[in-house]
């Protein structure tokens, strides 16, 4: 097995059950993440990107109505089999998490410095003053000027971009080897987004942590990611290195997404994907994209296409791309 392998997710399933129906939010997801790599998980709302992160952090799967299955090897150990107590030691320590909304991931009644210092206090049993100095160091690392006064301030005294920097500092305080960022820049303005993305890439270079970046923005993916997995209705439909995906997209959904995106300076008419995403509780057999797919044929209705290897590092879940490969 590859030494660089940090996260190996195999056949991950996360379902939500109610009396009448089951929502297959994440259905049979497999992917890997190497050290120092940024993997982008893209898809539209409701495709299961956020559920994937919650499943990996085991924030779901503890209740009867939530069903979690599969394996997720993180540094050789299966996260899905861990007990709650064991997970608590991993969360915030080896796995850092950056949420979309920095306003709701900070506690309004504790100072920013205190909240960051809590991480080494909890996980490394660091003394109070040691933890404080770690917090200061982290704030400096994420580019907050005047960090000593800033550490004593509260969340409401920070602007949006500053708060997100503080959240990143908190995620990094445990020195994680895996960083999960769920739409880290969606709530921010573009000029601030550029700063935060730049910071994340710089920190990755420094710490060699693996980053799982969840986003709906293909532009963000193209700028920072090394590899991309495109999700649709709870499944990965295409996975490839970033260049390959943007220049030779194989799956009709990926192609559709790229064609429906306005590009600056281009005068081409947008080609939208017709229809809308399927209801996750009214799933039928066959390919989930077939209703919106311009190339759908008989087999798509009955047989679900598996994620097929079409080139080195490039997989696509489409009957057409696998057929094309077989005919060679």
């Amino acid at each position: 097995m590859n030494d660089d392998l940090l996260l190996d997710v195999r056949h991950l399933k996360a379902y939500f059950r109610s009396k009448q129906r089951t929502v297959k939010a994440v259905d049979d997801l497999s992917f890997t993440l190497k050290k120092g790599e940024i993997l982008g998980l893209v898809g539209e709302s409701g495709c299961g990107k956020s559920t994937t992160t919650k499943a990996l952090l085991r924030l779901i799967g503890n209740q009867k109505k939530e069903y979690l299955e599969g394996e997720a090897f993180f540094e050789g150990e299966d996260l899905i089999k861990k007990s709650d107590k064991q997970m608590q030691k991993i969360r915030g320590n080896k796995i850092g998490f950056i949420a979309q909304n920095p306003m709701s991931s900070l506690n309004p009644v504790f100072t920013i410095g205190n909240q960051i210092a809590e991480v080494p206090q909890m996980h490394q049993r660091a003394a109070k003053n040691k933890a404080w100095s770690i917090a200061l160091k982290m704030l400096q690392k994420v580019g907050i000027s005047d960090h000593e006064t800033r550490a004593k301030q509260y969340a409401h005294q920070f602007s949006g971009g500053m708060k997100q920097r503080a959240v990143i500092a908190m995620a990094l305080a445990g020195n994680p080897s895996l960083l999960i960022a769920d739409e880290p820049t969606t709530a921010l303005d573009v000029t601030i987004q550029a700063q935060i993305l730049d910071l994340m890439v710089k920190l990755r270079d420094e710490t060699q942590a693996g980053v799982l970046l969840i986003t709906h923005d293909l532009g963000v993916v193209a700028e920072v990611c090394d590899r991309v997995a495109v999700m649709y209705a709870g499944k990965i439909v295409e996975q490839a290195p970033v260049d390959e995906l943007f220049h030779h997209p194989q799956h009709p959904y990926t192609k559709g997404l790229l064609a429906s995106m306005p590009k600056i300076g281009s005068r081409k008419k947008l080609i939208p994907i017709s229809g809308h995403p399927p209801n996750l509780y009214e799933m039928h057999g066959g390919c989930l994209f077939q209703e919106r797919c311009p190339f759908a044929f008989d087999r798509c209705k009955n047989v679900e296409p598996p994620l097929h290897k079409i080139a080195e590092n490039h997989q696509s879940a489409c009957h057409l791309s696998s057929e094309r490969m077989n005919s060679f």
Partner: protein, 328 residues
Amino acid sequence: MNRDYKPFIRVDHLKKYFPVAKNWRGKNSQYVKAVDDVSFSIDEGETLGLVGESGCGKSTTGRLLLHLLAPTSGSLFFDGQDLTQLSKQALWQKRREMQFIFQDPYAALNPRMTIQDSLHEPLKAYGEDKRTRSETIKTLIDAVGIPSQYLNRYPHEFSGGQLQRIGIARSLALKPKFVVADEPVAALDMSIQAQILNLMKELQHAFNYTYLFISHDLSVIDYMSDRIGVMYLGKMVELTDRDALYQEPLHPYTQALLSAIPIAEPKRSKKKIMLKGEIPSPVHPPSGCHFRTRCPFAKAICAEKEPEWVEMKKGHYVACHVVQEAHQ
């Protein structure tokens, strides 16, 4: 583009100040200058795009143009008539010709009314009889691509994209001449976004609407607009044809904004202009040029004097000391 016809909408030195604090006498002492001395015009059948980051005053400008907010000062000509001078009754009649498309389609429609009833409302308000109303609605709903058998459904039975289509249908029910669209696609997924943008373009083509299109997303603005205005902290900093804005942006803020946008083309060698810091508070904007605190080219004069709104080339307006000096 043909720039010879008379301006359909003309805005001169438009200002809107919102009071935020009172002094001990109970008089307003502090203001947010949401829109501060903005002048521009829109031709008939043209789309003017307004772009800027949150809090720059683009939505307030949109509301002022429909006279949903009374301006603090300045004049506003709609089809040759000054809206600020009209009586309530006359304004109400004029309102027929101008409409608004909202950002959040879920919030824009009454959840307890069927969409049929919602669509009847504007027509009822202007005293159309029942038969014409029903006929108008049939053609409208057809034009925006919603099957007419859905008319008796409630908003929760539709997806976001469908609701936005219905919202557009309602805005167009009274056959307006001028439509303000405030972030109409910001709440929608990428594949749906393209559907709505194309629909708005087709409708404009068919009925010769004049649009003011507001968005924070430069690529969406670029796709939709004939001319683009860039706003920063209540001021318009640049206004020109979309091609000129993209090919030779003059204002440092426009340049930074363009370079900050993540482009869906990996490994493109692009030099990023990273802006320092964050947007200052609009209650205490910097003296002189509002952008000077983040501007990489700021000089002494920028702190002393507000830059004037100057036409540098035909139809290309900029408010920047540095650019104006360089041209002299």
